[in-house]
């Protein structure tokens, strides 16, 4: 509380309604000589808009606007219709009994409250009404006309509808004691009507028993009619809940809503109607609601609807076991992606059931097979074994399905799993089933098959998965003591799942334990052992000693070729892990050779296309790293074509190849093609796979990178900020893709002069990497150089130089001389020394690095050209213009030949060479061409920033 504010308020209220003349005098009295106080009051008075409107006549009352309590007198006539009575009254309007003069007939006239349909929506109202008019189906109550009538109360929108004298479907079935098959036939009829509307683009969104009436036609046959189609459109989603119309109240509406509709993230979708019809079918078959909400309070019921799985229909009627149960489960699936995609599909399945043919719907394949398997082995496999494995399986499966689920739903799911587990263990205590390791391993093998069939592209919600894995790990620790190989398999599974999230520190103990278990129980050389060993090596690669990891993977590759054969899945996985290690340890040539063997292999069956595309993409990346941009471009283009051909244009693998192609094009200077390509791919991916899927995230980050490279910082920041937020949520901060996005966004911040934001990102990244990796790991040194570039821009030159020197020293200690990373850092440091005027130190360092580079890697390597470029500038500063020109010309020509005329590095060398030629004042004829810039140049950094730019971009 502020006494000062109290005083200001008091004076303000005292004077606010006074005439201006009086007010001044009063203020003089109340404020006296305290001018600050008076100024404060006057400032408030300036912002007091109420004053002009008179005193307290206008009161605020939101609740009175358009609620059902507003009495409306029954009018005699609305538009051309004569009102004869009232049929009902609802939250969004009143339904009158009315008579139409031409043609003469009784109709139901739905009059919307003015508040439910404001003036701005009138146009839309007309348009939608026109669409509704086109719905002509015997199972849909026809809309004859929609219009806006002028009344004394202003314009009133109305709908003239077919008047249906029927009974709500459920009540009708009960009263008429219809059999199961009769009920199903009525349901199918209803589905046909709803499908008719869907085909014309109209979704009901408020299907419930109250809206589906049954009646007997002239021949006494039973027919159904769906009411209120499209009313939700006309009145908009927010006004559609017809709370007081049917006495079942709010819950009567909510009870038919799909979970995604209740959690508020649902765009209008056919699957909302599918779900509602599923609830209806459940009730038709069981006379109960799929969720246990009967007799509960609204809050309770809502909680159940939002969080629980629907009940099984078989608990009400054992006859429903089998197909009908499956149809219900598919229609009611909480995840819309697993639901029937059309109402026609439900109808088809029910017709098939009625004709005793097999139905199309199957439960989610993995879970379905899992349960089948579990049931088959129930007597053999110990319940504890099964439940632990189920926990792991469900953890993974649930997290896959949870990509669109809310956190709360996930937590509930997790608790459900834990509960099931507890029950199972309790049951196990009583069980006398023999514990048969062979059988248990069969189960494990099955589960692993299932889990490994899940591609990393499907992984989502990293943190939630981590939580569940931790839970699974804790439980695993205390069970299965007598089944070491099952334990080994499960440890390996958990380790893989952690690693896929970038949680290497959590993964390592599990993979070590798995290895130990395999080895001490005679399962060395098994597929599981190879997988664990490869995983351990990959963890080493990402967090520890890169050369050791590469050595280990080379050995493993040879062993797996010998033990498992070249086409075994594990051998292939190890091969790709090895290729990655070769590339990271600087052995690009070896990586290329290995990839070429994959491409030249005759094996084209089974999984081969997958590996082929993978190899093309990887090879493209190696070429891009080596700056052979035309070759990289060619490879990515082939990968795109192959993937499109084998998997389809919208497949994640095709989109990933496209991303590689776009990034290569951008680096080669063809941003005009690259950017729209990424934008389009991103749109496709969002629409086809969802905004939070890994493939979409990768495309977003790539788009940000391309925009940054071309100086479009604001656009880059926008897309990268969004991408990073999603990355944090979906993949977690330890995932390398998340970290890559952090680096890119940090650079954008830096280049926009937002140094604090840049530093805060880089500091966070440094901390995460320090926590999870060996202190001298190269990935940590990279971050320190990023930080140095920001410090440089801030003018903190000494700090920046110290960081670069320390990073260089660490890298030398880690890789030794001659490694490309070491050379890159040497070049960076040499640039730095040159900029600081320490030209001798700069030259010594750069020359030594150049010699290392040529010895280790040959003259055609891009790093050689970078060093030539670097040395040229050093020579120039030392006054050796002729030598500088020679070196720069070398760098420029080599880069132009290798990367193309407009590549980033080619442009940098061209620019520097041009400056050198001007400096010499003697541009020869041949040089004129060099001077002419042939490329659409991106926005270059401001002059003052250029020197810091050098630290990184060259």
């Amino acid at each position: 509380m502020s006494a000062r504010h109290d005083r200001v308020s008091e004076i303000f209220l005292d004077v606010c309604d006074r005439e201006p003349g009086q007010r001044d005098a009063r203020l003089q009295v109340l404020c006296g000589s305290d001018l600050a106080l008076r100024r404060e009051v006057e400032l408030l008075l300036q912002h007091d808009e109420t004053r002009d409107a008179g005193s307290d006549v206008r009161t605020l009352d939101v609740a009175s606007a358009g609620t059902a309590n507003t009495p409306v007198a029954t009018p005699g006539r609305i538009g051309p219709y004569e009102i004869t009575g009232t049929l009902g009254e609802g939250g969004m309007g009143i339904v009158y009994d009315a008579r139409q003069p031409h043609p003469q007939r009784e109709i139901a006239l739905k009059v919307l409250r003015p508040s439910a349909c404001s003036a701005t929506t009138h146009e839309r109202f007309r348009r939608e009404a026109e669409i509704l008019g086109r719905l002509a189906h015997p199972g849909i109550a026809q809309v004859f006309e929609a219009g806006i009538a002028s009344t004394s109360a202003g314009p009133v929108p109305y709908l003239a509808m077919e008047k249906v004298a029927g009974t709500p479907l459920l009540a009708f079935c009960r009263q008429a004691r219809l059999t199961l098959r009769q009920r199903l036939r009525l349901f199918v009829e209803t589905c046909d009507a709803v499908h008719h509307a869907h085909q014309r683009g109209v979704i009901h969104r408020d299907l419930k028993p109250a809206n589906i009436l049954a009646l007997r036609d002239a021949s006494a046959a039973v027919r159904t009619k769906v009411l209120d189609f499209g009313v939700s459109y006309l009145t908009d989603a927010d006004a559609r809940l017809t709370i007081s119309q049917d006495r079942s109240g709010l819950l009567g509406t909510l009870a038919y809503m799909a979970p995604e509709q209740l959690s508020g993230q649902a765009p209008p979708d056919i699957r909302l109607d599918v779900h509602a019809l599923g609830v209806l079918l459940f009730e038709l078959l069981t006379d109960a609601h799929p969720y246990d909400i009967h007799g509960r309070g609204l809050a309770d019921a809502l909680h159940i609807l939002r969080t629980q799985e629907p009940r099984s229909a078989t608990q009400f009627d054992p006859r429903l076991r089998g197909d009908l149960s499956t149809i219900l489960a598919t229609a009611l699936a909480r995840d819309p992606a697993r639901r029937y995609t059309s109402v026609a599909a439900i109808a088809t399945d029910i017709r098939r059931y009625l004709e005793d043919r097999p139905i199309v719907a199957r439960p989610s394949r993995a879970v379905y097979l899992l349960w089948k398997f579990a049931r088959r082995h129930r007597t053999i496999v110990s319940v504890a074994t099964l439940s632990v494995m189920l926990l792991v399986a469900v953890a993974v499966v649930a997290s896959l399905q949870a990509v669109r689920a809310t956190r709360a739903e996930l937590d509930v799911r997790l608790r459900t799993v834990a509960l099931e587990h507890a029950l199972a263990v309790a049951e196990d205590a009583r069980s006398t089933a023999e514990q048969n390791e062979g059988q248990a391993r069969e189960v494990t093998g099955f589960l692993k098959e299932m889990l490994h069939s899940v591609s990393p592209e499907q992984l989502g919600r990293g943190r939630a998965l981590e939580d569940m894995l931790a839970e699974a790990g804790r439980r695993l620790a205390s069970t299965l003591a007598d089944q070491p190989l099952t334990r080994a398999d499960l440890h390996e599974t958990i380790a893989s799942a952690y690693a896929s999230l970038g949680a290497y520190d959590n993964s390592a103990p599990y993979s070590r334990e798995a290895l130990r278990l395999y080895e001490t129980h005679g399962a060395r050389w098994s597929a599981g052992w190879f997988r664990s060993a490869a995983l351990a090596a990959r963890i080493e690669l990402h967090t520890g000693d890169i050369q050791d990891a590469a050595d280990r993977l080379r050995t493993l590759h040879a062993e797996s070729l010998r033990e498992l054969g070249a086409t075994h899945r594990e051998t292939r996985a190890i091969l790709f892990a090895r290729i990655e290690a070769e590339a990271r340890s600087g052995a690009f040539r070896r990586a290329r050779e290995l990839l070429n063997t994959v491409l030249q292999s005759d094996d084209r069956g089974g999984d081969a296309p997958k590996y082929l595309v993978h190899a093309l993409v990887q090879l493209g990346r190696v070429h891009r790293l080596e700056k052979r941009l035309p070759e990289a471009q060619e490879l990515f283009a082939t990968a795109v074509d192959t993937a499109r051909d084998r998997f389809g244009a919208e497949d994640p693998r095709t989109l990933a190849a496209l991303r590689g192609l776009a990034k290569t094009l951008a680096e080669a200077g063809d941003v005009a093609v690259a950017e729209p390509m990424l934008v389009e791919a991103l749109e496709v991916s969002r629409a086809r796979h969802g905004a939070d899927r890994p493939v979409t995230l990768d495309l977003m980050t790539a788009l940000g990178e391309v925009r940054w490279e071309y100086g479009r910082y604001a656009d880059a920041r926008e897309v990268l900020t969004e991408s990073l937020a999603m990355h944090r949520d979906v993949r977690g901060v330890r995932h390398w893709r998340t970290q890559r996005t952090m680096v890119l966004l940090g650079r954008v911040f830096r280049d926009q002069g937002r140094f604090d934001e840049a530093l805060s990102l880089f500091d966070e990244l440094l901390q995460v990497r320090t926590e999870t990796r060996r202190a001298d790991h190269p990935s940590i040194q990279r971050v320190r150089v990023h930080i140095a570039t920001v410090l440089c821009r801030q003018g903190r030159l000494d700090e920046a130089q110290a960081l670069c020197e320390s990073a260089y020293a660490q890298i030398v200690a880690y890789f030794g001389h001659g490694h490309p990373d070491t050379i890159w850092y040497a070049k960076t440091l040499a640039d730095w020394y040159r900029l600081s005027g320490e030209l001798d130190a700069a030259r010594d360092l750069a020359q030594a690095a150049l010699i290392d580079c040529i010895e280790a890697r040959g003259v055609e390597r891009p790093l050689t050209h970078s060093l030539q470029h670097c040395l040229a500038l050093i020579e120039r500063d030392r006054g050796g213009v002729v030598e500088a020109e020679r070196l720069m010309r070398n760098a420029f020509e080599a880069r132009q030949a290798m990367q193309g005329p407009c590549a980033r590095q080619t442009r940098a060398s061209r620019k520097a060479l041009t400056a050198l030629l001007r400096l010499r004042g003697a541009a020869k004829d041949a040089d004129v061409q060099i001077v002419a810039e042939p490329c659409a140049a991106p926005q270059s950094p401001a002059a003052g920033e250029f020197r810091c730019e050098l630290l990184e971009s060259e």
């Binding site: 308020s9 939101v62 009540a171 028993p209 927010d238 009567g252 508020g264 809050a299 809502l302």
Partner: protein, 178 residues
């Protein structure tokens, strides 16, 4: 057309009356909040209400038939939901005409501009530090859609006090957000 009879399944849920009243109230506030952004399909007003509803449901031990307690909590829940939504939309620009109009007296007819809500929320926090009751009055009336009378009842003060608080707070917030 026949007005359908109720489904017997739900007719026993008598305890819902208080909730229904809330629901209706929240719905109107949400409707108002969304009138200004029809093209946004990421969150519908109904969904917003559901979210507020779910938050309300998490308050244990509240007698929903006691309007004093429950109206206040409803207003808080709505504020949180709207602000969260606005934050999610990442539209954090401050100031501007829309918010100032949102603070006019005839709130019922004026769209709440979500893009300004975050700024408003922050200003309200600041006001709460100066004068907690004035901030409460704004929360109840703006986010809870309560009338002067209802606000007075919730806060256990006279209607005159509520009107005074409301007027000072409005001027102060407009000044703050100008």
């Amino acid at each position: 057309m026949v007005t359908p009879t109720s489904d017997p399944l739900f007719s026993e849920s008598e305890a819902n009356d208080g909730w229904d009243a809330f629901y209706e109230r929240l719905r109107l506030i949400a409707q108002r909040a969304f009138r200004s952004e029809r093209r946004d399909h990421t969150l519908q007003p109904t969904a917003l209400v559901h979210e507020a509803f779910v938050r309300l449901a998490q308050h244990e031990g509240v007698d929903w038939n006691d309007p004093k307690r429950s109206l206040g909590i409803a207003a808080q829940a709505m504020r949180r939901v709207l602000i969260d939504h606005a934050r999610r939309r990442n539209t954090l620009r401050r100031g501007g005409e829309a918010l100032r109009t949102a603070l006019r007296d005839d709130v019922a007819d004026t769209p709440l501009d979500l893009t300004r809500l975050v700024a408003l929320d922050e200003a309200l926090l600041k006001l709460a530090g100066l004068h907690a009751r004035q901030a409460r009055v704004v929360e109840l009336r703006l986010f809870g859609g309560l009338s002067v009378e209802e606000s007075a009842s919730v806060l256990d003060v006279s209607e005159r006090t509520v009107k005074g608080d409301w007027r000072v707070a409005q001027a102060w917030l407009r000044k703050e957000l100008a």
